[in-house]
Structure formats: C-alpha cells, structure tokens
Amino acid sequence: MSQSLDAYLILSGLLFAIGTFGFLARRNAIAMLMSIELMLNAVNLSIVAFGAFVPSLAGDGALIALFVMAVAAAEATVGLAIVIAIYRNKRTPLVDEYASMRE
C-alpha cells in the first residue's frame, strides 16, 4: 500500500476534496485560507508522489514541491495581511459580510 502510487494519489485527492469543501463552506476568512493551505498540501503530496514513483521525475518532484511551499508562504503572507486589513475596517472575519466587491 505504501509502495503504490495510486494510494498516495487517492489520499491527495481526498485531502484536496476536504480543502475544497472548507473553502466553499466556511464563512470565516481565515478558515478559508486554511482550507486553501490544505488544498495546496494535497497538490504537493501528489507532486512528491509522482517524483518518488516516476524515475524520470526523481528530484523534480521534490523541487517543485519546495517551490509550491515558497509560493504558499507568499500567499499566506499576503492573504492574512489582507484579512487583517479588512478586519480592521469591517470588524468581522466573516466573508459573506464583505460586499464591497459588488460595488
């Protein structure tokens, strides 16, 4: 089981689905960001799994996963800064009470 690519990919898919659900269903902006992190992790898992099982991708998988992490760090920084900035104005972390995008 731990030696089969399919197992890792299914695991990754499940985690991705969980993250998707969180993103679609949670009202809290930070919870949505956490869900995005879960999805990114799911993608990373599949990338590393491919890197580990496909010999021609040896090294590349790990490397791309590292890049994804760096980008995720950037995303988290900016995302949380935006959340805090919005929170400062609106005094609520709940996303569906923000409506300025409709104006």
Binding site: S2, D6, A7, Y8, L9, I10, L11, S12, G13, L14, L15, A17, I18, G19, T20, F21, G22, L24, A25, R26, R27, N28, I30, A31, L33, M34, S35, E37, L38, N41, L45, V48, A49, G51, A52, F53, V54, P55, A58, G59, G61, A62, L63, A65, L66, F67, M69, A70, V71, A73, A74, E75, A76, T77, A81, V83, I84, A85, R88, L94
Partner: protein, 199 residues
C-alpha cells in the same frame, strides 16, 4: 531474532501500517479543520495534518521536503495563521455561525471532486511509474535547483520579497490625517525629528 517483517496477525508491511496511521491522522486533521467550530482548534488540527503529511513525505523518500514542510508549513505558515486568528477573533466570537448557506452545495461539489479523482486515479495507467518508492538524494535536488530551476528559484525569491513588502504595506496601520484622532495607544516617542532643511 529480528522483529517480524510484517505486522503480526494482520500481515501488512510495517510501512503500510505507518502509512495508514499517518494518512488517517492527516485526513482526520483535515476534516477537523473544515468541520470544527472553534477556529483556533481548526488551526491546531491543521498543524497536526501538516505534521502527518511530513511523515508521509519521509515515507516517500523525500526527507528534505519533509523538513521543509515542517519548517515552512508548521513553523511559519501555521504560526502566521494562528497569529492572524488571535488578532481577529475573540473567544466570545460567533463560533456558531460557522458555515455558509451554500455549504450543502459545497459538500456536494467536494464529494463529486473526490469521486472523480479516485476514479481517474484508479483507471489511469501511469506511464513510466516504478513499482516502488525511489528516494531522491539531496545533492540531486540541490543540483537541479541551481541548474534547471535557477530561474524559477530567482523568481520565487522576488515573489517572496514582493509578498513581504505587500504584507507589511497591507497590514500597516494607516496614519489618520487628523492628528487629534490618532489612536491613544500609538507611540509617538519614537518619531524621528523632521528632516533638516538644507539650503
């Protein structure tokens, strides 16, 4: 007498057992993240999920990625998220209003996505895939990083710099134009004197 190669009574390889435990921890943590009512616990379960994922990376023969996972996701991103939670939530906050009114549709979409992914994974014959895990050496990764991926590396560094600057700018408290309206807790002692006029 060495330890048995398989788990007694069940007959799995030890690796499989570890894999299942880690996978369970990861998925369980993930579910708690999206389903939990208390957001700070969601954050802590996310840490758990990330840690289990780091273990899975070790199983996949990528200890470097595992270390990076712990360093970046747990040591930096999770801390940042917890930080943001602590800044924006109060314990008396509305933790009962957790889910959006479209959550049923979200659940449907998520389940559909999971089913499709599983179906695709199972029915696809991945070309070029080996039968077992091939560990990738750190030196190989390092060499790739500074040869084939050097441009991406540089771009990521610029991206991170931009993110830092952007984050600082966004989260900075704006000076209110009216000096009388300045927040009381804002320290003014550290202000520099106005620049000297030179000619």
């Amino acid at each position: 007498m060495a330890l048995p190669q398989t788990v007694p009574f069940i007959g799995w390889a030890w690796d499989d057992l570890i894999f299942l435990v880690l996978a369970g921890l990861m998925l369980g943590g993930g579910l708690m993240v999206v389903l939990g009512r208390d957001i700070i616990r969601s954050g802590l379960f996310m840490v758990l999920s990330f840690a289990a994922l780091a273990g899975i990376y070790v199983l996949l023969g990528a200890p470097l990625v595992a270390a990076a996972q712990v360093l970046i996701y747990i040591g930096a991103i999770s801390v940042l998220i917890l930080f943001a939670i602590m800044l924006t939530q109060s314990k008396a906050g509305p933790s009962n209003l957790v889910f959006h009114h479209q959550s049923w549709a979200g659940a449907l979409a998520a389940v559909g996505l999971a089913v499709i992914i599983i179906v695709v994974v199972i029915y696809t014959d991945w070309p070029g895939a080996a039968t077992g895990v091939v560990a990738s050496a750190t030196t190989l990764i390092a060499n790739l990083l500074f040869t084939d991926y050097v441009l991406a590396f540089e771009v990521v560094s610029v991206l991170l710099l931009a993110a830092v600057i952007g984050g600082v700018f966004l989260a900075k408290r704006e000076d209110s134009p009216d000096p009388g309206a300045r927040a009381v807790d804002e320290p003014t002692l550290g202000r520099l004197p106005a620049p000297r006029d030179e000619s």
